[in-house]
């Protein structure tokens, strides 16, 4: 093996419907590291890419939300397994993307792997802590259960290109939602590489869709899209976030506003419950009367 061997550059693609297409617009933009050196060209998604991603996410929703919680947990754990196997690759990519030393990048990647494990363990428990029987004042069985809301648009954090990304994506899909993710504008590469991991983790196509490009450009059609049920504005700054929230009101999307987050801290359950609907079912039950129960 010669020292002067030329490496093969990776062409970064979007991840939509389980496949790796280029942007339909044919555009790319330059991605640089923290010192301004060129890293790669990334697809510059258009609103049509966003539209196609929503179609893919909607198509995948029935199967993913209908899978057992156990099955979803297995899939999320598999993502952690695959990511663990590619630890070195991601340590390098995160280091380059965020200008971090190898050891600092390693801390982030390890935390991201552990975050997938954390969420893998939530799939079959969240219903037990947010749902339950309600003791109504009448002869009725009454049960509240959480259900996933549907297709969730997620604006990944701009600065935390990997740990932040995983922290906003995993809770959305853990409960059965499907996601259209707008990656960090300046640091999209770790996210696009995550697509490779998802593709080999038995994640059904369309459950996660990754779009790189100009955040404002693709977030706008997503926030206005009538077939998107919720939007996480983590990657939007104050001005943009307000515009998007206004657009989202047209079909009353569930909106999660941006806030400062320590991505290293334990996430709590708020990101899980933000994208759940509560369904309450009643049925006559009766305590069984005295002289021969009515039933």
């Amino acid at each position: 093996m010669s020292d002067t061997r030329l490496s093969v550059f990776k062409t970064y693609k979007l991840f939509v419907g389980g496949k790796f297409p280029r942007s339909e617009s044919g555009r790319v933009y330059e991605v640089t590291d923290s010192k301004g050196r060129w890293l790669a060209n990334a697809p510059q998604s258009s609103r049509k890419d966003a539209r196609d991603a929503v179609v893919a996410a909607r198509k995948a929703f029935g199967g993913w939300s209908g899978a057992t919680a156990y099955n979803r947990g297995q899939v999320l754990y598999r993502v952690a397994e695959m990511l663990q196997g590619r630890r070195e690759q991601f340590v390098r990519e995160v280091g380059e993307a965020e200008g971090l030393s190898k050891s600092k990048a390693a801390v982030i990647v390890d935390a991201a792997i552990d975050r997938w494990v954390w969420y893998a363990g939530w799939t079959d428990k969240i219903a037990q802590i947010v749902g339950g029987a309600n003791p109504v004042a009448g002869p009725y069985f009454n049960l509240s259960s959480p259900e996933p809301t549907g297709v969730v648009a997620v604006l990944a954090p701009q600065d935390s290109s990997f740990l932040g990304l995983v922290s906003v994506l995993a809770p959305v899909i853990a409960t059965g939602n499907t996601a259209v993710v707008v990656t960090s504008e300046s640091a999209p590469l770790p996210a696009l590489s995550l697509g490779e991991v998802l593709a080999t983790s038995d994640v059904p196509g369309g459950v996660v869709n990754l779009l790189s490009g100009r955040t404002a450009e693709i977030a706008a059609p997503l926030a206005a899209h009538q077939d998107v049920n919720a939007i996480d504005l983590a990657g939007a700054d104050g001005v943009l976030a307000k515009e998007l929230e206004i657009a989202a009101a047209d079909n009353l999307k569930r909106v999660r506003r941006p806030q400062a987050v320590d991505w290293a801290a334990e996430p709590g359950t708020e990101r899980l419950t933000a994208f759940l609907e509560t369904k309450t079912v009643w049925h006559p039950a009766g305590a069984g009367g005295s002289a021969g129960s009515a039933y």
């Binding site: 919680a69 156990y70 947990g73 297995q74 754990y77 552990d114 494990v117 954390w118 893998a120 363990g121 939530w122 799939t123 079959d124 428990k125 037990q128 802590i129 002869p139 069985f141 334990e266 709590g268 359950t269 049925h283 006559p284 039950a285 009766g286 305590a287 069984g288 021969g292 129960s293 009515a294 039933y295």
Partner: protein
């Protein structure tokens, strides 16, 4: 043009034994190592379907119990101090390795227990892995479980499990105990020690720190010594009600917490509007799954009198397709009884049924000449006054009683010192919920039976024990709350 109807006979379809390698002998697993018993005693474990000796196993005595508890205590400090996320990852590793070795462990369990490979392969092993997966996920989320912001473990858990679902009962005990930060000493039943010993090997492959899990193979005396050991903080027992009561007495006045999962005499209630074909499957599953050696078996069939004949005809017809035989054959439905002792108990109780005037029926079946076998059996004309309606038989024997109204069904179902499980078969939703409301049983299955899931709490009322295993509720037993 027509071909004559012919019999469709299933050729032998044996699962291969080659997937599992059973050593001629095994030691106790204490502090990460396999060792002989301190006094060198051993016992043999046999395959109940053939009486073949499978292996020679170390028999734990008091000294071994003491050493194991001390190892568990030593390991407890660092194990409980580990961040939950790290404990979780050990348990996830264990779950994954169990999945990988599922076939091997299923064959092993079938050989040692006598139950059909189809059950170990399709029921036991998937549930074993699922329990470890489920509780792995709780290890770093205990603050969200409804027990306060930082619930602490108890310490060393002494766990004694029965022979009917050896590896599954081990999973029910060890998974929540470890997830919550406890360390364990577990004693499997003397007739089914092997899967626990293989589990010890799984722990080693997963890199589990020494002393966190200790396996003491042996007899009831080792179990009693474990329960009585002063440095055990938590006792968990699944087994007979009689032994459960003895344990409750022996730990009285101590600080030890205890959970007991004991016997049952489950009532499977079939109403006149039941979906008949599915109800018949539910009845069959309820009493012949695992050869009826199940604490929550639907061992009393309560049939609404107006449909009794019709359902019984359908049931008898269905029983004639049950395949009894070599548990290693993939088409076997009903395997061997676990031991000569258990066979004797079943036989004696079944004989009492005849003696007390109930009518006995079995489908025609050819039982193998060696091994411990009991044909699926039905008793009709049973009343609550019969021994076979009252006492747990723990075998493939169904007692059939009738009732006239839902109120009478509930009354008869509850008329028992036990309260573990019940079944309700009806197409009417409000009847399901109303009857379920009134049944004094910890698990009620409506239009189904013998369904288990790691997320679903399991346990009994009354003399079927107390405490729940599975679900968020299952954490409580292992936390200092």
């Amino acid at each position: 043009m027509t071909t004559m109807p012919t019999k469709f006979e299933y050729a032998p379809a044996p699962e291969s034994r080659a997937v599992v390698d059973i050593a001629p002998s095994y030691g106790l697993f204490i502090d990460g190592e396999f060792t002989e018993a301190a006094d060198g005693r051993v016992f043999k474990t046999v395959s109940p379907s053939s009486e073949e000796v499978l292996s020679e196993i170390a028999q734990a005595g008091e000294a071994d119990v003491d050493r194991a508890v001390r190892a568990a205590r030593k390991a407890f400090a660092s194990w409980s101090a580990l961040p939950g996320a790290e404990r979780a990852k050990y348990l996830f590793r264990i779950a994954r390795i169990i999945q990988e070795r599922s076939r091997e462990l299923a064959v092993l369990e079938t050989l040692d227990n006598g139950k059909p490979i189809r059950e170990t392969r399709d029921a036991d092993l998937p549930l074993v892995a699922a329990h470890f997966f489920y509780y792995a996920g709780w290890a770093d989320k205990l603050g969200h479980a409804g027990y306060g912001p930082d619930p602490r473990p108890l310490g060393v858990a002494g766990q004694v499990i029965p022979w009917n679902f050896p590896l599954l009962m081990l999973a029910w005990k060890i998974a929540p105990a470890l997830a919550t930060g406890n360390t364990v000493v577990l004693k499997p039943a003397e007739t089914t020690p092997l899967s626990a010993l293989f589990f010890a090997d799984v722990c080693r492959q997963a890199g589990l720190p020494k002393g966190v899990v200790n396996i003491l193979t042996g007899y009831g005396d080792a179990g009693a010594a474990l329960v009585a050991h002063p440095d055990v903080n938590k006792v968990a027992f699944t087994g007979s009600t009689a032994v459960g009561k003895a344990i409750a007495r022996s730990i009285a006045g101590t600080d030890k917490k205890v959970t007991l999962e004991l016997g049952g005499k489950g009532a499977n209630i079939v109403f006149d509007d039941a979906p008949v074909d599915q109800a018949v499957e539910g009845i069959v599953n309820g009493i012949f799954f695992n050869q009826g050696q199940v604490c929550c078996a639907g061992s009393r069939l309560l049939l609404q009198e107006s449909v009794a004949d019709e359902v019984l005809d359908a049931l008898k017809r269905r029983l004639s397709t049950l395949r009894v035989g070599d548990p290693m054959d993939k088409n076997t439905d009903v395997g061997a009884i676990n031991s000569a002792e258990q066979l004797a108990r079943i036989t004696a109780l079944a004989d009492s049924g005849e003696a007390e005037g109930a009518e006995r029926w079995s489908p025609a079946c050819e039982l193998p000449s060696s091994g411990y076998w009991f044909a699926p059996t039905l008793f009709t004309g049973v009343t609550q006054a019969h021994r076979i309606a009252r006492e747990e038989i723990f075998g493939p024997v169904l007692s059939v009683l009738t009732f006239r109204t839902p109120a009478e069904a509930v009354e008869k179902a509850n008329n028992s010192q036990y309260g573990l499980s019940a079944g309700i078969w009806t197409e009417k939703g409000s009847r399901i919920l109303s009857v379920a409301n009134q049944l004094r049983a910890g698990v009620v299955w409506a239009n189904t039976f013998n369904k288990f899931d790691p997320t679903s709490p399991f346990g009994g009322y009354k003399e079927s024990g107390f405490g729940r295993e599975g679900g968020r509720h299952g954490l409580e037993a292992y936390l200092d709350v």
